[in-house]
């Protein structure tokens, strides 16, 4: 068996920006003193004249991004999810969302897998916050290949987009040569009839692991990757609800307001079935190695499989 390649999606973000800088001469990248961590430093190295460091001032950075976009530039504004979506929420809403400006927000270090920095930096609320802004696209890629494709797709799209990336190196399971990213479309990775696992971000790979475990126990699980949380693919979710009768969602985010909520919002309208949510259960995180934290908070293939078994009994 070939070695599994692992890569953090923040690396994919930085690499994609550097590559796209050659194609888009009006691409400007902003950061707020975190270029080394968000990996916009890769773009900065390739294209220093189009990189601007706003210093530790995320609110101002969002306004500057809005001003650049209002004068025709293509802009990525980058920081940790906690500060991009959290601290600067109102700037994103009023200066970018309300005028529907062409700003892309590249938010890294999302979720509990920030690790040792602890709760102040582990943002489990960003999907909830960003998807309440009218017209905001919210994308949470699952691996390196998807992340790079998502950055390109966001750049080609006219309007505000929130992109969520992780700090932790995660398995690369998509094949770059055949992968196609379609904004707003869910991806069925595996068919199944007993239960559907709908996952996003680094939980997609865990969902695939869970499906394998379930299969060995005679449970047939469908796996869907929702990389675009808004606008969400209502069709693929409704179809799964009707055909498998029960859904388990999996996300590295609070169970309040994220993917699980978005999926439940769809099925309550189109095909009411139980939706069991795997995520951070309305608690703050704490310091520790990312992989251990993911296990501790139940963000694992084992926990998804366990929840899926419970879910099947609800049918």
């Amino acid at each position: 068996m070939a070695d599994i390649v692992k890569k953090a999606t923040r690396e994919s973000y930085g690499e994609a920006l550097a590559e796209l800088s050659e194609v888009y001469p009006d691409l400007i990248v902003l950061d707020a003193d975190l270029a080394a961590a968000t990996k916009t430093g890769i773009f900065k190295k390739a294209c220093p004249e189009r990189f601007y460091d706003c210093g530790i001032a995320e609110a101002n950075m969002m306004g500057i991004a809005a001003g650049l976009a209002a004068t025709g530039k293509k802009v990525f504004a980058s920081s940790f999810a906690m500060f991009a979506a959290g601290r600067a929420f109102e700037q994103v809403r009023n200066s970018i969302g309300y005028p529907h400006l062409n700003v892309k927000i590249g938010a890294t270090h999302a979720g509990i897998s920030v690790g040792e920095d602890g709760a102040t930096h582990q943002c489990n609320e960003d999907i909830a916050l960003m998807r309440t802004i009218p017209g905001m696209v919210v994308i949470n890629p699952a691996d390196h290949v998807e992340a790079k494709a998502a950055v390109k797709a966001a750049l080609e799209y006219e309007g505000p987009v929130y992109l969520r990336f992780g700090r932790l190196a995660v398995p690369v399971f998509n094949d770059e040569s055949t992968y196609k990213f379609e904004m707003g479309k869910g991806v069925q990775l595996k068919d199944g009839s007993d239960v559907t696992i709908i996952a996003t971000g680094l939980m997609v790979n865990e969902a695939m692991g869970a499906a394998e475990k379930l299969s060995s126990e005679g449970i047939s699980a469908r796996v869907i990757n929702i990389h675009t949380i808004k606008p969400i693919d209502r069709e693929i979710i409704t179809k799964a609800a009707k055909e498998t009768g029960v859904i388990v969602t999996a996300e590295e985010h609070s169970v309040i307001g994220g993917l699980g909520s978005a999926v439940a919002e769809v099925v309550t309208e189109t095909a009411p079935v139980p939706v069991i949510k795997v995520g951070v259960n309305d608690v703050f995180g704490h310091s520790g190695p990312a992989v251990d934290l993911l296990k501790e908070f139940g963000l694992s293939a084992d926990n998804i499989a366990a929840k899926a078994k419970e879910a099947v009994k609800l049918k």
């Binding site: 306004g63 004068t71 025709g72 009023n94």
Partner: protein, 280 residues
């Protein structure tokens, strides 16, 4: 400035004030006090300074203005209407359902509005972004941002000030409308942002003081701002909140209150008398 030009600007500013009162009166809500204090500087900018084309409001090389103190939208709308971006009659639709003239500026639908604004402290950052954009692509347009003095209490203003000076944005001129009053009272009683000039100077800005209601003073100030190389400029204009309507002048209560029918009639009659005296 020659006398003919000055008289024209003075007459236009009175008409702008009439539009403010008309809009706020019809809306039965809005912010007349601060709108009246910026009426002259906005009139000056749109009629004597900025390169704009009402027939082509989105012209790429136009000068831009961000009304960071967005609650004074009635003044901006009234100036834009006088300048021909839309009909003066439309001012009566201010804040009404179906109207383009939202309570705070909305760039998506209102011709001539360069940035949506109103949440204080945010407009200046957007103006800084526009100025940076101009520098990046070597465009010749200038960017103006109009802020309130109370607005300076927002920390974001100083984040923006730091960035603008660091990046030497000499194509940016900020105007601080120093009328001394904010909703809860005098700025010096609420949470003083004073000394305004020293703060901007310490942040690396070129600081100019002007009389907000004297077109000669304004012209001198904007000439000076435009001549500065390598740093952004701020014009701190000493103004009178409610300027032009006797019973609104320097009264904090008129920050966000609409006149009743009687007050409306008195305000309009005072302004008409001012116009008659200028046009004599």
């Amino acid at each position: 400035m020659d006398e003919v030009m000055k008289k024209q600007l003075e007459a236009t500013a009175v008409k702008v004030r009439m539009g403010i009162i008309e809009g706020v009166y019809n809306a039965k809500s809005g912010h007349p006090g601060g709108s009246l204090s910026v009426a002259d500087v906005l009139t000056y900018l749109y009629f004597a300074r900025m390169h704009v084309d009402p027939k082509d409001p989105k012209k790429p090389d136009r000068d831009r203005l961000v009304l960071s103190k967005g609650h004074t939208a009635p003044a901006l709308y009234s100036v834009l209407a006088q300048r021909g971006f839309f009909e003066v009659e439309e001012l009566k639709t201010l804040r009404k359902i179906g109207s383009r003239l939202q309570g705070h500026p909305d760039m998506k639908y209102i011709p001539g509005v360069d940035m949506s604004s109103g949440s204080l402290g945010q407009g200046i950052s957007c103006a800084v972004g526009m100025a940076l954009s101009g520098k990046i692509s070597c465009d010749s347009y200038r960017v103006y941002a109009v802020l309130g003095d109370g607005e300076l209490e927002e920390g974001q203003v100083w984040e923006a000030a730091m960035f603008a000076a660091h990046n030497k944005l000499d194509n940016l001129t900020a105007v601080v409308d120093n009328n001394g009053l904010q909703i809860d009272g005098k700025i010096t009683d609420v949470c003083s942002p004073m000394p305004i000039t020293d703060k901007f100077a310490a942040f690396g800005w070129h600081v100019i003081i002007a009389d907000a209601h004297d077109f000669d003073s304004l012209e001198k100030a904007f000439d000076e701002a435009e001549s500065v190389v390598g740093q952004p400029s701020v014009i701190v204009q000493t103004s009178v909140k409610g300027k032009g309507v006797s019973f609104m002048e320097n009264q904090v209560g008129w920050h966000g209150t609409a006149p009743n029918a009687e007050q409306y009639a008195q305000a309009m009659s005072e302004l008409q008398a001012q116009l008659d005296s200028i046009e004599q």
